[in-house]
Amino acid sequence: MESGIKQVDYWRWSESRWTNPEISDWKGGLVTAGIDIGSTSTQAVIFVDGKMYAYSSIRTGSNSPDSALNAVKWAMDGTGMTQDDLNFTVGTGYGRVNVPFADKTITEISCHARGANYLYGPTVRTILDMGGQDCKAIHCDEKGSVTAFMMNDKCAAGTGRGMEVIANLLSVHVEDIGDMSFQIDEEPPPVSSICVIFAKSEATNLMRRGWSKEKVLAAYCHAMAFRVVKLLEREGVEEDFAITGGIAKNKGVVKRIESLLGIKALEANFDTQLAGAVGGAIFAKEFFEKAARKREGK
């Protein structure tokens, strides 16, 4: 029986796709792809001759191979390209072994470093990747090669999933949280940064005590920033510093991380969730060219 009450998925973020208008003809070019299957989102990025040609970013479903296929098909939508046109594909991310058409798999740590090097430039040295269910601090050199990394995947505190839980609790769209968290008179102390379940019950109590949604969101964003800064401090933060992943789109967390570190993160002029798949597509080009050289005996 229908209740007549419309359920709203406050956690649901926007899926997207893009084709590079500057590349009119991809035929005859070297076509490589990076497929990043994360716990929450999947990205497919297609490069033609080392330049980004198209991408898609979708929510990961219950079946990783299907997510990979759906992402790459959507990225190719309207381009005339098919899977047969891919010269080399790299699978990365949590579900990398489940990309049925991948020629090679690479860890998301290597791919994020290489992707950030491409997207933010060779000056980037520290990358904070805030994913759906884990958080990684990566250090790299000027070529985008990883020199150190650390990861937290023991709990959802400091991850996108934690933010989705709070969005649903407060009935606030996840994409609005950042802006709303600044609509306060004074920065409140953070809620629990150790556990999302503790943070959720703490947020519920604060609402009962009369805190506004904005104030609770500020306290949660503050807690998340505090949590990831502690992770970053294990190896130190070397500038330039960049944030990737879905949480990088949340100004409420980003600005508080910058404030705690005393360092400004590089501005992104692209979808921050793409870094892993971009790195995969770059690696794919390198592997294809290496194999071609080997075949030619060079």
């Binding site: 690479i106 860890t107 290597s110 250090h139 990883v146 020199t147 150190a148 990394f149 650390m150 990861m151 937290n152 995947d153 023991k154 709990c155 150790i194 556990c195 502690k230 992770l231 294990r234 190896e235 690696f283």
Partner: protein, 94 residues
């Protein structure tokens, strides 16, 4: 590459750092046998070099797994994994 495996929870921070710089040229990888709990494993990295990693299923339980060796600290003995790496590339944060 310095890989920090582990986590932080309400009781503290528990990380094992493995610097893989010398792993590819290390014969026998003695650390993999030195750990009585078998938390170290050989793995090919993204560039096909054989390195040592902390096993994925152990990474989030290091506090309890490594407790077996921790009481040895305080005397003349050090942690077996740290001692086994002749290059001194393994370190515990706690």
């Amino acid at each position: 590459m310095k890989a920090h495996y582990g986590y932080e929870d309400g009781s503290g921070s528990y990380y094992i750092t493995v610097n893989t710089e010398y792993c590819a040229t290390c014969d026998g990888k003695p650390c993999t046998d030195a750990c009585v709990q078998g938390i170290f494993a050989r793995e090919e990295d993204d560039f096909d070099d054989e390195i040592v990693v902390v096993r994925e299923d152990a990474r989030n339980s290091l506090k309890s797994i490594c407790a077996a060796c921790k009481p040895q600290i305080g005397g003349s003995r050090s942690l077996p994994c740290e001692v086994s790496c002749k290059q001194g590339m393994i370190a515990h944060s706690w």
